[in-house]
């Protein structure tokens, strides 16, 4: 059966077949035929104010749900504006599909108006990409794009479609199968290796789970909790993995890495076995690689074979979907209890108790700084108050900088897909548009968008989108007057020579939000904080809360670049006593 229709309509049909209910985009000359179809199509198109934010919003949608997020842009500048979001999705393995218009196929290569080599430009920004120049190739390309984006290690896929394809009429034959002979997805995990892993786990005296974004991508939190129940292993979560283990779970330590906790970094360094699940031994986590987890054997589970052994050679490599691998592992652990692995069970049990004791000591010795001040709002105070309102349940999207690290340290996430941030690329401007995507996907959820005063201004045009859609996002600006994270490095490593980091101008939040038709407010006193946040949350619509915080706070602990992660700087340098003359 087939129906005669335009390429543009075929595109919409294919998207609908993939279950797309909403997409984020910005129209232009070559996508006109598609926007004409969208005019009365069931797919809801959210008009953003910059294409970069269409990609970020699609990511927010995908990160909040696990479904593929969709964004759309016109040729030339529209497509080039998408690239930051594509790379962001690539770095964090987020499934999005980007549709771009291209100039008419006859004009390709002629430097036509708004022509850019989108296919070439986005090759390194995507997991895979397509240039569709013939109508008959269109449905296949769209379905392949969704398949590639959402399977294996997820990632962004772009489909560039020429205007003549969108305009052409043809018979739409729904695609029923996809054939990508060279696309290998490794899901099962080698049973022999999983058995070896089980054995190492049972023999270990100081085991530690190092779990990341892969747990969330694979929807494997339940399996992880079951594993922890069976083995009583302590857990650290990377920045991308926060929420995969509930913050309040007794076995959860916290985040390791450059701004991770003392306990998490000491545990990484002291462990004799790291069970690395859906992580990539990123440099922000490992610090100086040669000194990372020096006593540990490594079990590394990842769906991407190229991640296994990329930075650290594992003792037990397991390539597979971490959900399936963990459930197999759990089964093995249940069936073969640690009855007689080599060594003495009594000593091992004692060693495990000692390990837990040690971890509790580390936790108690240097918890995260949560100090408050009576006269000013400290950034940590702001995060603690947001945490109180969230209760581990709200979606929190973050921008990039100091506020991101404090939010990651101090806000609880008791479920996966609540913490949404730009981890790998660290793209400022991510917080607000990703909140738009997340709130569109989860309308019932309380969504906080936390940004710095720098990153917020990168995303400021999206206030219009928030207002247009009436999205009840609580936009919190942690306003320290500086590009705080860069200022911190200048203070610590460049003799406090503050170069181009002062943001001396910030708009009046009440007027700014008011100009878009919603409520806003600026506060600077600690006694205003709780009530102001409450007011924001109680407001049925959007709310912009600009919170002036102490400007010169630094995020600690901090692992200086090039140091081992147990070589943390725990707080500001103590003033040196000046000798009397």
């Amino acid at each position: 059966m087939s129906t005669l229709m335009s390429g543009a309509r075929m595109l919409a049909e294919c998207l609908a077949r993939e279950g797309v209910d909403c997409m984020f985009g910005y129209p232009g000359g070559v996508t006109l035929p598609f926007y004409d179809v969208l005019y009365d199509h069931q797919i809801r198109h959210i008009l953003v104010r910059h294409e970069e934010n269409a990609a970020f919003a699609a990511e927010g949608y995908a990160r909040a749900t696990g479904k593929v997020g969709v964004c759309c842009a016109t040729s030339g500048p529209g497509a080039t504006n998408l690239t930051t979001g594509l790379v962001d999705a690539m770095m964090d393995s987020i499934p999005i599909v980007a549709i771009t218009g291209q100039v008419t196929s006859k004009l390709i290569g002629s430097d036509a108006f708004q022509e850019a080599d989108t296919f070439g430009i986005t090759r390194p920004c995507t997991k895979h990409n397509y240039l569709v120049k013939r109508l008959e190739d269109l449905p296949q390309a769209i379905h392949e794009a969704f398949y590639v984006a959402s399977t294996g290690r997820p990632g962004p896929v772009l489909v560039d479609i020429t205007k003549d394809v969108l305009q052409a009429q043809g018979h739409y034959v729904p695609v029923t199968s996809i054939h990508l002979p060279g696309y290998k997805v490794f899901t099962e995990g080698h049973t022999g290796q999983i058995r070896r892993a089980a054995q190492l786990i049972q023999e270990s005296e100081r085991p530690l789970v190092y779990a990341g974004g892969g747990i969330i991508a694979a929807d494997a939190s339940e399996e992880l909790r079951e594993f922890v129940r069976l083995t009583d292993t302590p857990v650290v979560n990377t920045l991308m993995g926060l929420g995969s283990m509930p913050t309040e779970h007794p076995n959860f330590i916290s985040m390791p890495g450059m701004h991770g906790s003392y306990a998490a970094n000491m545990a990484m360094t002291g462990a004799d076995l790291l069970i690395a699940l859906g992580v990539r031994f990123d440099d922000r986590v490992t610090g100086r690689l040669a000194a990372f987890a020096p006593h540990a054997k490594i079990i590394h589970v990842d769906i991407d074979p190229a991640e296994v052994g990329k930075n650290r050679n594992p003792d037990v490599p397991i390539v597979g979907d971490v959900k399936r691998v963990l459930s197999k592992l759990n089964k093995i652990l249940v069936e073969t209890p640690a009855e007689a692995p080599p060594g003495n069970n009594e000593t091992r049990a004692a060693a495990r108790r000692g390990w837990w004791h040690q971890i509790r000591e580390w936790k108690a010795a240097h918890p995260y700084d949560t100090s408050t001040s009576e006269s000013e709002i400290k950034p940590q105070h702001l995060m603690a108050e947001i945490d109180r309102l969230s209760g581990g349940q709200a979606i929190v999207t973050s921008d990039v900088g100091q506020h991101q690290m404090w939010a990651a340290q101090l806000i609880r996430f008791n479920e996966p897909r609540l913490w949404i941030n730009s981890g790998g690329l660290g793209s400022m401007g991510f917080g607000l548009p990703s909140a738009i995507g997340a709130q569109m996907a989860r309308p019932e959820k309380l969504v906080f968008s936390i940004s710095g005063d720098g990153g917020f201004q990168m995303a400021i045009p999206e206030l219009a989108t928030v207002a247009n859609q009436g999205l009840p996002i609580k936009i919190i600006v942690m306003n320290n007057g500086y590009l705080g994270m860069v200022r911190q490095w200048q203070t610590l490593f460049y003799n406090d020579r503050l170069s181009s980091v002062e943001l001396s101008c910030f708009p009046d939040a009440e007027k700014l939000a008011g100009a878009y038709g919603f409520k806003g407010r600026t506060i600077s006193k600690p006694w205003e904080l709780a009530a102001a946040l409450k007011e924001a949350v109680d407001e049925p619509g959007p709310y912009l809360l600009n919170v002036k915080v102490t400007p010169f706070e630094c995020v600690y602990p901090m692992v200086p670049a090039g140091s081992a992660i147990n070589e943390m700087v725990l707080g500001p340098p103590q003033p040196v006593a000046v000798p009397a003359d």
Partner: protein, 180 residues
């Protein structure tokens, strides 16, 4: 060290760009690269020689295998394989050394493909190191100009091409495909 990689890739637009882009993106130095159709016109075979740290060799292959248009990537430095290259060399030579030049060419198994009063054009195939020697020897007789094909390699044991089967599109979201 030099790593010889043999790739089979689909003849899709941009496939070559994906391979070369990946190499430069990951900082691998390309020593040589050749590509041409296979018996199956839908596929091409590439031979790539890269200069990589020996610890990185497995990583290069894994990254290549991740490319959707790559059906197979093999490290031929690890298996029995033949590596050959073609050189075309033009030499300007004096009347006196013509015979000596021809003699040397013969030693290297060369074939004269053009001859004029100025000199010769000579074609030699062989292992890449061997061709280096040939060029050195010839340079002693006069001004040379050289073009080399880059290495071509083939494994001596055949490795079965493992292709993924088609998957149905129905239903969203796509489940991770089952694996035997």
């Amino acid at each position: 060290m030099q790593q010889v990689i043999s790739l089979i890739l689909e003849n899709k637009p941009g496939a070559l760009m994906r391979v070369t882009g990946l190499l430069s993106q990951r900082g691998y130095n390309i020593e040589s690269l050749t590509v041409a159709r296979t018996l199956d016109p839908e596929l091409s075979r590439m031979t790539i020689v890269v200069d990589v740290d020996s610890l990185q060799r497995a990583q290069v292959i894994k990254q290549m295998n991740k490319l959707i248009n790559v059906l197979q990537a093999n490290d031929l430095s690890e298996v029995p394989a033949v590596v050959r290259e073609l050189v075309l060399l033009r030499i300007r030579t004096t009347q006196e050394s013509r015979t000596a030049v021809l003699k040397e060419a013969e030693i290297f198994g060369g074939r004269v493909v053009d001859s004029s009063s100025e000199g010769f054009a000579i074609e030699v195939t062989g292992a890449p190191e061997k061709l280096g020697e040939f060029v050195d020897v010839m340079s002693a007789y006069g001004e040379v100009d050289v073009t080399r094909s880059g290495a071509l390699a083939i494994a001596l044991d055949s490795k079965k091409l493992r292709l993924q089967p088609p998957v149905p599109t129905v239903g969203q979201p796509h489940a991770q495909p089952a694996q035997k």
